[in-house]
Symmetry: C2
């Protein structure tokens, strides 16, 4: 089962969701995390030293052999990313089949894993497209902020284009509200709007804004491992269980 | 004077800073805002209806004639953006001189303005490069979060590359801490780290996290116009005055 965590809006919780869902699911399942963002925040999230990585997602996108890029860290498998990946965007332009590179690599190894979770950059460029083309599902983290709805419409259109023009069968697993601050009127208004437009797709779990998340990144560990009792950690536990139920039903 | 507001990290306050600085400076000066982000959040920030725009930054990047794309809204000039711009990334690949398109357009009209402020997307791709190549200065909003420092190193390297390989003279105007939550330990730790590494470049003004900013976006207006007394609005007023002093000195 391959899942993209995607939303071209910056800072809406993609990496935090990929890291925490990944950490939780890896307790009982075999999980592979793929960091396909040149910023490499997911890689940093697990305390991986980028300078020491011999082979990263950059090498995979240019020369394949994803098996050699997988590293094991704190009980999870991960394909790390570094800023080198930014160079691949130019190097891959015009290359025939460039949207399928990650797909072809993952096809070979996906059966070794229960879940492959891909963290994408805040853009609808070649890395996000590769992720969507390679995936069975896309999970969309949404910050309850004014610009969120506009971005969702654009993203859903890209999902449709991936299916129609690149003959895929990518399904929306759902949207999850992140960094929710229940005390602000605008957060509540946007939540209502998202519920109205995407009620069938919205996860019931809402991830609250919680200082533990930022503290945990400084400790090089996902919130769910750093402090199990924090509100965001408990919410991610609920999200993981809802995530698994949704996938069993589909 | 042309200034890029840039940082490839998502959601660190680029658009909010461009909108509020722009709104404040336009009181006494002639200001042009350029939205070169396919997400078009700056365009939305000023309540502009994207569907009604005949000519946007997309048309400018492909066919020039920036003069025809400028619209006047609420006392400020702005070149709007829509998702169409995303298509330009592919259309411009390999085109000779594609990094200079915005520069060549702005050269013709920049003297009509005291300040041209460009809002960029969360990436180091062709639109951000065009913005940096066109600019005299880059202003970097930084959210006091763990991933901030890593991104700053990458961004400063890109600024150096723009100068050395594209023979520009882009200078760092400064970095400004945004969305600062003084109550969290991690915010304060990151602030200290940024101060240590970039003390000469850091603006004294810190923009606090403030619910007024999110409420104002829902009202289609920058915070400084929506509620002058809010903490973020007062901070942006201080930032605008520090911004002008820094530019007079240089
Ligand atoms: N529930 C939360 N409470 C508090 N802070 C959070 C929460 N979720 C994420 N954050 C913080 O907000 C910032 C943005 O989150 P994150 O990096 O996960 O977003 P992103 O969508 O991956 O960003 P980008 O678009 O840059 O990839 C990070 O510094 C993260 O630590
Ligand atoms: N001082 C602040 N207090 C509270 N919320 C803020 C503040 N500044 C920005 N925000 C909110 O945080 C979100 C991200 O801010 P903004 O869109 O300005 O960042 P950005 O860097 O332009 O994002 P992107 O990388 O997607 O372009 C927005 O919803 C904005 O309204
Ligand atoms: Mg991320
Ligand atoms: Mg923005």
């Amino acid at each position: 089962m391959i899942i993209s965590i995607a939303n071209q809006k910056g800072g809406c919780g993609k990496t935090t969701t990929a890291a925490n869902l990944g950490a939780l699911l890896s307790v009982k399942h075999k999980v592979l995390l793929v960091d396909i963002d040149p910023q490499g925040n997911l890689t940093t999230h697990f305390g991986i030293n980028k300078a020491e990585q011999k082979r990263t997602i950059y090498d995979v996108m240019l020369n394949g052999r994803i098996e050699e890029a997988i590293i094991r860290k704190d009980g999870i498998d991960i394909v790390p990313s570094t800023i080198d990946l930014a160079g691949a965007e130019v190097e891959l332009t015009g290359k025939i089949g460039r949207e399928y590179i990650l797909n072809n690599e993952l096809k070979r190894i996906a059966r070794k894993y229960d879940y492959v979770i891909i963290d994408t950059p805040p853009s609808l460029g070649i890395f996000t497209i590769n992720s969507l083309v390679a995936s069975d599902y896309v999970l969309i983290p949404v910050q309850a902020e004014f610009f969120a709805l506009e971005g969702l419409t654009q993203l859903m259109r890209v999902v449709e284009l991936v299916n129609s023009r690149l003959s895929r069968n990518l399904k929306l697993l759902g949207m999850v509200i992140t960094m929710f601050n229940s005390r602000t009127r605008s957060s509540n208004e946007v939540l209502e709007d998202v519920r109205k437009h995407y009620s069938k797709s919205l996860f019931k779990t809402v991830i609250p804004r919680n200082v533990t998340v930022t503290d945990s990144t400084m400790a090089g560990s996902p919130a769910v491992r750093y402090n199990k009792t924090a509100s965001a950690s408990r919410a991610y536990v609920k999200l993981a269980s809802e995530f698994e139920k949704k996938l069993k039903v589909k």
